[in-house]
């Protein structure tokens, strides 16, 4: 079985488990909805909210929502002992990480499905402002965040204080994602051409390659304690 097939099996299993724990997905969706509405009320949107504030609100919500999924990613396997099961299967360790990344991407895309229309209504993000380009930036940022967050989640899974450590470590790690993703989103919303935000996308691409390279070499050691 190839790397991608192994990862897909792991992601499929995680999504099946998640579907049986629908209340957790619903709580993430509820968090997204309430965050958008609260920001909208606080900033007097949609009338007075600026493009910068709208883009910032989007990424703050995505960041905090991602923490919700990272806290269950590897931590649940560790707490229940099923991490031992993953150590019995004859697959490449990186496939396990990639499976978790795919699972997180699916969950965050689900959040995006709710977040995008709500942002149009409540956060003054105009659909005329090239929605597909905005989605491209959001998806690239989410893929980055899913990779970096899953690696951090695997590193902290052995710690008793993982719920504290995860956001603590994820914050600096996600900065090289958060800043260019935020800038690129702003530029898209301003209606600037692709050439104006391609540098941010290249930066995100370079960071993704770096995280993948590190995890290919380091994840085996992380998984095997």
């Amino acid at each position: 079985m190839g790397l991608l097939q192994e990862s897909m099996q792991i992601a499929r299993r995680d999504l099946l488990i998640e579907s049986r724990r629908a209340y957790e997905i619903l709580s993430t969706i509820f968090f997204t909805v309430s965050a958008v509405i609260l920001i909208s009320i606080s900033w007097g949107a949609p009338i007075s909210i600026t493009i910068e504030e709208g883009a910032a609100a989007l990424w703050i919500i995505i960041f905090f929502t991602s923490i919700l999924s990272f806290t269950t990613s590897f931590a649940r396997e560790m707490d229940r002992g099923t991490i031992g099961g993953l150590r019995t299967i004859p697959c490449t360790p990186f496939a396990i990480l990639l499976g978790k990344v795919i699972y997180t991407i699916v969950l965050l895309l689900l959040v995006l499905v709710v977040l995008t229309p709500m942002s149009i209504v409540f956060l003054n993000i105009q659909p005329t402002a090239r929605i597909f380009e905005l989605l491209l930036v959001l998806v690239v940022g989410i893929v980055n965040l899913a990779f970096a967050g899953s690696v951090v989640s695997s590193i902290v899974m052995y710690s008793e204080g993982k719920t504290l450590l995860l956001p603590f470590l994820l914050f600096p790690v996600s900065m090289p994602i958060f800043v260019p993703a935020l800038l690129a989103s702003e530029k898209v919303l301003r209606g600037l051409p692709f050439t104006d935000y391609s540098a941010e996308l290249r930066l995100l691409g370079a960071f993704l390659i770096l995280v993948i390279m590190i995890s290919v070499f380091a994840f085996e050691a992380i998984l095997e304690e």
């Binding site: 192994e6 099996q9 299993r13 099946l16 099961g85 019995t88 095997e224």
Partner: protein, 220 residues
């Protein structure tokens, strides 16, 4: 292929300054059923975890049928079935879904897997529970579902860490019977506190004390 199913040379495991395993060297031939005995903290679980690729040794080498547990982990996992203290089954999935997942990860093709699941579920007498979520199973039934998991890929070396703990007499009997039928020809290593039970099941016993093998009797 190596002459030995399990071959360890001077393996040790340290957790900081705690020596869980000091120096273990042993050879186990294919087909042997080895009981690993010892008090709590004697090192038996650490030893089984190392040969089961759950832990890496701090020193020394361990080979399963000639394959290095550190360098050929993937190959070793194909031929080893490991039952740990904790269940490796996913609570929210049914017994069948769990077995499907593990079977797919062991690259058993879909048609064979269906038949194999039927066989192993029947063997551990879990047929009535195959569509039940694992979280709804009792401790004994859960252990049986884990046993079905390790039988799935017909391992040549079966490692059972405290398989009898928390089981009643009937469940222990069922476990031993399923081991005898499914594990026929396989090398089995099982740890337990229950000396008499191990004596009656195994043809070789090793007693661990303070991270070392203190006695080894009945080996061929």
């Amino acid at each position: 292929m190596s002459e030995y199913a399990v071959e360890c040379k001077d393996i040790a495991k340290n957790y900081g300054h705690i020596h869980a395993l000091r120096s273990v060297s042993l050879k186990i031939k294919p087909g042997e059923i080895v009981g690993v005995l010892g008090h709590n903290g004697a090192g038996k679980s650490t030893f089984l975890k190392i040969v089961g690729t759950q832990l890496m040794p701090s020193r020394g080498t361990a080979h399963i049928l000639g394959k290095d547990v550190e360098r050929q982990r993937k190959e070793v996992r194909r031929i080893v079935g490991f039952l740990g203290h904790l269940s490796f089954m996913y609570d929210e999935l049914t017994v069948e879904e769990n077995l499907q997942f593990y079977g797919q990860m062991f690259e058993i093709n879909q048609v064979d897997l269906k038949n194999r699941i039927e066989e192993v579920v029947d063997l551990v007498d879990l047929d009535r529970y195959r569509a039940v979520e694992v979280k709804k199973l009792s401790h004994g039934l859960r252990k049986r579902s884990d046993l079905a998991r390790i039988f799935l890929h017909s391992p040549k070396v079966i490692i059972l860490d405290e398989p009898f703990s928390g089981l009643d007499e009937a469940a222990v009997k069922l476990l031993i019977n399923s081991l005898k039928s499914q594990g026929e020809g396989a090398t089995i290593l099982l740890s337990s506190h229950e000396f008499d039970l191990v004596k009656g099941t195994c043809n070789r016993t090793m007693v661990f004390r303070d991270g070392r093998v203190a006695s080894d009797t009945g080996g061929s």
